[in-house]
C-alpha cells in the first residue's frame, strides 16, 4: 500500500497571528443569527509553561459536537440534524496572565461506529512560539473522572493525568450569568497536561 505524497512540514504559528483572526471566535454559542441549544458555559483557564509561568499569546482552537452529540460535518450520519445555532469550532488567545476563555455549550455524548460510547468532550489544539507543531488534547466533563469510560480517555492510564483532562466546575469563573468550567493547561512541568500523538 502506498503511503502517498509526503505531507508539507508544519511550522510554528509564531508571535504575530493577527488579532482580527481571533476576535469573535471565542463565542461558539451563536451561529448565523441563531442561538445554540443546550447548556451554555464558559470554558476557561490558564496556559502555563515550565516553571508554572503564564504564556502570553498562545492560540487555542477547539472542535466539538453540539448539545446532542452531533458534529456539523458530512462524516457524521446525523449531521442533517446538527443544531442550526451551533457551528462547533472556536479560537481564543491567552493574555499576559496566560488566561483564555471560550463561551460554548456542554457537548453531548455519542456512540462510535464500533459501538463505543464517547463521553462529552471537546477537542483542543495549542499553537504557540516554541511549538513547531500543534499540540492536541481532549477536554472531558463529569463529576467522577475515575468512573468515566471513553476510548480516548482510557488511553491515559495514569490516574492523576486522567483527572487533568477534566474541566472542573469553578464558581470563581462564573461570568455573564454563565457557569464557569476551569481547564488549565500545563504545557510542560509539574502536573503536565497529557497530550496525544498527532
Amino acid at each position: 500500500m502506498s503511503k502517498g505524497l509526503p505531507t508539507s512540514p508544519y511550522c510554528t504559528i509564531g508571535p504575530f497571528f493577527p488579532g482580527q483572526f481571533v476576535e469573535g471566535c471565542e463565542d461558539l454559542t451563536r451561529f448565523e443569527g441563531k442561538t445554540a441549544c443546550g447548556e451554555h458555559i464558559l470554558l476557561a483557564g490558564r496556559v502555563v509553561e515550565e516553571g508554572n509561568l503564564p504564556t502570553l499569546n498562545v492560540i487555542l482552537e477547539i472542535w466539538q459536537a453540539d448539545a446532542n452529540g452531533v458534529f456539523r460535518h458530512p462524516l457524521d450520519p446525523r449531521s442533517g440534524a446538527a443544531d442550526p445555532g451551533f457551528f462547533g469550532w472556536g479560537r481564543a488567545r491567552t493574555n499576559a496572565d496566560g488566561r483564555y476563555r471560550f463561551r460554548t455549550v456542554v457537548p453531548g455524548s455519542y456512540r462510535t461506529e464500533e459501538g463505543a460510547h464517547r463521553c462529552p468532550h471537546v477537542n483542543l489544539m495549542v499553537l504557540a512560539i516554541g511549538l513547531t507543531r500543534r499540540l492536541v488534547t481532549t477536554v472531558f466533563f463529569g463529576d467522577a473522572p475515575d468512573n468515566v469510560r471513553d476510548p480516548v480517555l482510557d488511553c491515559v492510564t495514569d490516574r492523576a493525568a486522567r483527572r487533568r483532562l477534566f474541566a472542573v466546575r469553578d464558581p470563581a469563573l462564573d461570568a455573564e450569568g454563565l457557569p464557569g468550567y476551569r481547564f488549565d493547561i500545563v504545557l510542560r512541568g509539574e502536573n503536565e497536561t497529557p497530550f496525544f500523538v498527532d
Partner: protein, 243 residues
C-alpha cells in the same frame, strides 16, 4: 442528501513522519525547551470526533475577500515593495484536490514589520498594506492572492537571528486531523541559510516543500513577480486495487 460530500469515508490519517517535519526541539529557539511536553505523547484511536472538523468555515468567518494584501481598497494606492502574486494547490496525500478549504495568511510588510501589538521592532508600518487575508480553495484545490514581498526582521529575543522573508499560512482541511499551520520562504534568500526554523527540517527535499518556486513572469503594465507553492495535507485514501 449525500452524507459524504467531501469523499471522506475511508480516509486514513497516519501520525506525521518525523523526517518530513521540523524538529520539536531547536537549540537557541525561544520557548522550545519550556513548552514542549516532557512526557511522551499518548497514542489514541481516531473516532468521529477527531475525524470530523470545521468544514464550510466560510459560513462562520469572513473569507474570500482578502486576496490582495497589497492595498486596502480595490482602487487604492499600493503598498511599497515588490508586488507579488502567489498561487498553488491544496491536495491530500493522494494528490486529490482539497476544495473549499479556508486559508488564512499573514505576513510582515516590505520593511519587515507586522501589524501586531507585540511587534516592537523599529520599522515603519505601511498604511496601504493589509498584512493579512482569508481565501477559499476552488473546486481544483487552487488558491491565489497578491501581496508585497515581506522584508526580513530581527528576532527580539535573539542577538543574531534574523527571520528571512516568509508568509504564514493556516489551512483548514476537511478534518481536525489535517488542520495545518506553516510558514513559506522565498528561494535564494541568504538568510534562509541561518534560519532556525527552516533548517530544523533535516531532509533537504522536505525543506524544499517550505520554499516557493519562482515561475515565469510576463512583462506587462504591472510589475508582478509570481511564486507558486502546493500544499500536501495529511490524509489519504486506501486506493482500491485495480483489476
Amino acid at each position: 442528501m449525500p452524507q459524504d460530500l467531501l469523499g471522506l469515508t475511508g480516509v486514513k490519517y497516519s501520525p506525521y513522519e518525523e523526517s518530513t517535519q521540523l524538529a520539536r526541539y531547536i537549540q537557541h529557539y525561544p520557548r522550545s525547551f519550556t513548552r514542549n511536553p516532557s512526557q511522551p505523547l499518548i497514542q489514541r484511536p481516531l473516532t468521529l470526533s477527531e475525524l470530523t472538523g470545521p468544514t464550510g468555515l466560510d459560513r462562520r468567518l469572513n473569507a474570500g475577500d482578502g486576496d490582495d494584501l497589497s492595498r486596502r481598497t480595490p482602487d487604492g494606492p499600493r503598498a511599497i515593495g515588490q508586488f507579488i502574486s502567489v498561487s498553488g494547490r491544496v491536495v491530500d496525500q493522494d494528490g486529490a484536490p482539497v476544495a473549499g478549504a479556508v486559508i488564512e495568511l499573514w505576513q510582515a510588510n516590505s520593511a519587515g514589520k507586522y501589524i501586531h501589538e507585540l511587534d516592537r521592532h523599529e520599522a515603519p508600518l505601511d498604511p496601504n498594506f493589509t498584512g493579512q487575508g482569508r481565501l477559499i480553495t476552488d473546486a481544483d484545490g487552487e488558491y491565489r492572492f497578491r501581496s508585497i514581498k515581506p522584508g526580513a526582521y530581527p528576532v527580539m529575543e535573539s542577538e543574531w537571528w534574523w527571520r528571512p522573508p516568509h508568509i504564514h499560512f493556516s489551512i483548514f482541511g476537511p478534518s481536525w486531523m489535517n488542520r495545518y499551520v506553516t510558514q513559506i520562504f522565498f528561494p535564494g534568500e541568504p538568510l534562509n541559510e541561518t534560519d532556525l526554523l527552516l533548517n530544523a527540517v533535516q531532509d533537504p527535499e522536505a525543506r524544499d516543500r517550505l520554499i516557493f518556486r519562482t515561475t515565469p513572469t510576463t512583462v506587462g503594465k504591472v510589475n508582478l513577480l509570481h511564486f507558486k507553492l502546493d500544499f500536501v495535507l495529511r490524509g489519504k485514501h486506501q486506493t482500491p486495487a485495480l483489476d
